[in-house]
Symmetry: C2
Subunit: 190 residues, 2 copies
Amino acid sequence: MNAPHFSTKERILGAAETLFAQHGFAGASLRQVTAAANVNLAAVNYHFGSKDNLIEEVFRRRLDELNVRRLAALKNALAADEPKLDHEGGHAFMRVLARAFAEHDERLRKFLSDNYGHVLREFATAFAGFLPHMDKEELYWRLDFITGALTHSMADFGPMRRRSQVSEESHRERAAAHLIRFAAAGLRTA
Amino acid sequence: MNAPHFSTKERILGAAETLFAQHGFAGASLRQVTAAANVNLAAVNYHFGSKDNLIEEVFRRRLDELNVRRLAALKNALAADEPKLDHEGGHAFMRVLARAFAEHDERLRKFLSDNYGHVLREFATAFAGFLPHMDKEELYWRLDFITGALTHSMADFGPMRRRSQVSEESHRERAAAHLIRFAAAGLRTA
DNA sequence: GTCTATATAGAGATAGAC
DNA sequence: GTCTATCTCTATATAGAC
């Protein structure tokens, strides 16, 4: 069995995701990124053109696939009624995503909204279908609260961190179970 | 009536709060801060010693007073049962606070936890008293979700932004009313 | 496609005059 | 307490050899 070999581009993306999660987009330098990826500094500009483009690629790499899965899961849920939280991409990416919320950078917001806004809107429409008697504004507020709770907990912002005995996988599943109970009750209340 | 005159130190703190909220701690430079505050660049080091110390002072200025109010509100609520969301410090500070969550910087985390962690713990204890039959881990998860929802919505991360017709004051009150309904239901559910 | 070397700009911090 | 000037370091980006 050969170990999989990662291209320079992939190594840069992986290191960038980790370091942006840890230090933020402004806080992590291309020098740190290329050092962690074990590639030359100039490789970033060759493969991505600029730091801003690299940031966008970090999102694109995960979100393209993730949103396909999300929409499929939504379609299934519309038939089966069995919610399943999807957190593909791993821990580092959830933290990068949470950072994207914190950065009120207009360029990044626009990029995410233009490319992935339709997924959010499909989910909102589906929830409106399930809760036809709920005031629209009330519903949107509640979905926004759930987004906040999800982002906060999945990015390990709060004190409910994983204990070292528990695997990351089962920690996530436990967190998801708690969140679903909490969110469902908050969403349905009169 | 004389317009109030702000000291150099206060002008720096105000400008820093706004710019840190907008661009993050790493993203906002001391040069931007001092330019916005209309003071000399060297004034930051004279008054605060370093950028890191300035960041801590931005928090200390608001949190010292805010937490006194929070604890007083908790004491009242323990008697009266009338929750009131406190968001003293204004919009910019809520965004700075949300950024502090996003920054996984250990130094900043420790500073906030050392100086203000006891407030959080008092609230958790009070909630445990109100919900004596709830499993502790379940309760802590739910309080963490509420923290996420609160931070997210008060920092205007999501799409539920204030419309220009609505005043900031009444937008906040509306958001708080929605959040209290949502959080109360999520917290109490079996 | 990857390297070295460097251009250019901006950062935080400080020394010392006033 | 505030200024100018500057030190030193680091940043992003690019030019050009291999």
